[in-house]
Amino acid sequence: MASYSTNEFKSGLKIMLDGDPCAVIENEFVKPGKGQAFNRVRIRNLKTGRVIERTFKSGETVEAADVMDIDLQFLYSDGEFWHFMHPVSYEQQAAEATAVGDAKLWLKEQDMCMVTLWNGNPLAVTPPNFVYLAVVETDPGVRGDTSGGGGKPATLETGAVVRVPLFIEIGDVLKIDTRTGEYVSRAKE
């Protein structure tokens, strides 16, 4: 099994910690002039998304995590699994609800998204930063009000509910920032 020394730590490196795959976010080298060196490391647990801090004795080695990010096309969900396909090899992957997480709110069939694989199985799904989704339900639009003040909830085709300006109507296609879950603009026809 591949392993990394603390000397190889850098942002993005995937390691195993307490049995979970993790990614190094930040690595700080700390050393007294006459003593033992340490690496103070901020790490994201890729299963839970939680960020933790660990202080490694420098020179220690940790097991590498077999984790990679690939771009796949979202095909459909059968309610239990979310199915993705590689656009060139047509190889398919099925992700469980825990791996898809909040990304399910933004997944539209045929959209490309980033799937993180751990030992070949989907671990996490990251939607594109911006998605275009149609409004399926909202209160009637208030014509002429483009102030953006106030606003109202709108349900999108994926089931996500976002806050939108009053002038938005059913059938409008909206540009959404998936990192914040916020409305950006109405898509140009």
Partner: protein
């Protein structure tokens, strides 16, 4: 190469030109300080046939390819000019100082560059307490009008732990130290299974104490005998090392000793460090036999200290990282 900035743009210096001017000013003031004090500037080799034995320091290694009888000789870039300067002292130089580049493999980060500028000086007939006073005078003189020193605080190493970490390091074992780190300071160490008590003390020092030292000049003295490095050890219960460290605004800046002059004791410390290297599977390096010969011939009673000049400049101009004060830090060298 995604890991490195483009070679098209990183030919430029990392430090602002004003910072480089301040560096020149500090260097000038340091030389003036020692000139006035009658301390001789010296220049010793950066490449040496011997290397530092401490398991916590890693030397860069090189070799000479000829011509001449020394062809093929292994050489090490010095991690400090200490051994060569002590040979000068043993030869009767009197008090000396040196400003030079030193090299330490495996040290890179915000406060570390593998190559850095060290100010090292030795005072004959001084002990470590006299030298601490001179470090304070030097800093006050060199930083005059640039950075106020703030308060000056003195701590014995043991009292520092009691005050800032809330435990007596002479009584606390590994379990207490680990509990303190985990429960009170959210420090979760990895890879400490085979760590020594000294390693745990280093962990508490760097993770708990140093971040709490705050503003001002802090001297820590009387280290445990196991952390003596090249300092004399004073008899007592427990015995303590005549070693000190200086921190300015929470940053480790200087380390000094009342210098060990006993050649036999020095040899046994070299041997113990080489044994630790073997145990940790670190490279075995040649100990400095010329230093041992110089000590045997007689080192005058003296105290010595090494001070990081780049860190001093960092503090002087309020920089966040060493790379802000080096013309060409490691990544651009």
């Amino acid at each position: 190469m995604a890991d490195f900035p483009s070679l098209q743009s990183d030919w430029r210096p990392a430090a602002a030109l004003d910072v480089l001017r301040l560096r020149a000013r500090l260097l000038r003031r340091i030389r003036t300080f020692f000139d006035r004090a009658g301390v001789l500037e010296v220049d010793t080799p950066a490449l040496s046939a011997a290397a530092v034995t401490s398991p916590h320091l890693a030397s860069f290694q090189s070799a000479y390819h000829g011509p001449g009888p020394l062809r093929g000789r292994q050489l090490y870039l010095h991690t400090s000019p200490e051994f060569a300067m002590k040979r000068l002292l043993a030869a009767g130089s009197g008090s000396i100082y040196q400003l030079c580049k030193v090299f330490r493999d495996g040290e890179s980060g915000c406060n570390h560059n593998p190559e850095f500028t060290l100010l090292e000086w030795y005072r004959t007939d001084y002990d470590h307490l006299d030298l601490m006073d001179e470090v304070e005078r030097l800093l006050a003189t060199v930083l005059d009008g640039i950075l106020p020193l703030g308060g000056v605080h003195h701590w014995a190493w043991r009292d520092l732990f009691i005050e800032f970490a809330g435990l007596d390091p002479l009584l606390a074992g590994v379990t207490e130290l680990a509990n303190l780190l985990a429960d009170k300071h959210a420090v979760v160490p990895v890879g400490m299974q085979d760590a020594s008590l000294d390693d745990w003390h280093d962990l508490v020092m760097t993770q708990v104490i140093e971040p709490r030292l705050g503003a001002g000049l802090v001297f820590v003295r009387d280290y445990p005998a196991s952390q003596a490095a090249l300092a004399r050890i004073r008899r007592g219960n427990p015995p303590v090392a005549s070693r000190f460290e200086a921190y300015l605004n929470g940053m480790e800046l200087a380390n000094g000793f009342h210098e060990l002059s006993d050649a036999d004791e020095q040899r046994s410390r070299f041997d113990a460090e080489l044994a630790q290297r073997k145990q940790r599977r670190l490279p075995i390096v040649p100990a400095d036999e010329r230093l041992l010969a110089a000590l045997s011939s007689g080192l005058p009673d003296c105290a010595g200290v090494a001070l990081g000049v780049d860190r001093l400049l960092m503090l002087a101009c309020g920089a966040r990282c060493l790379s802000d004060v080096l013309a060409f830090p490691f990544e651009r060298a």
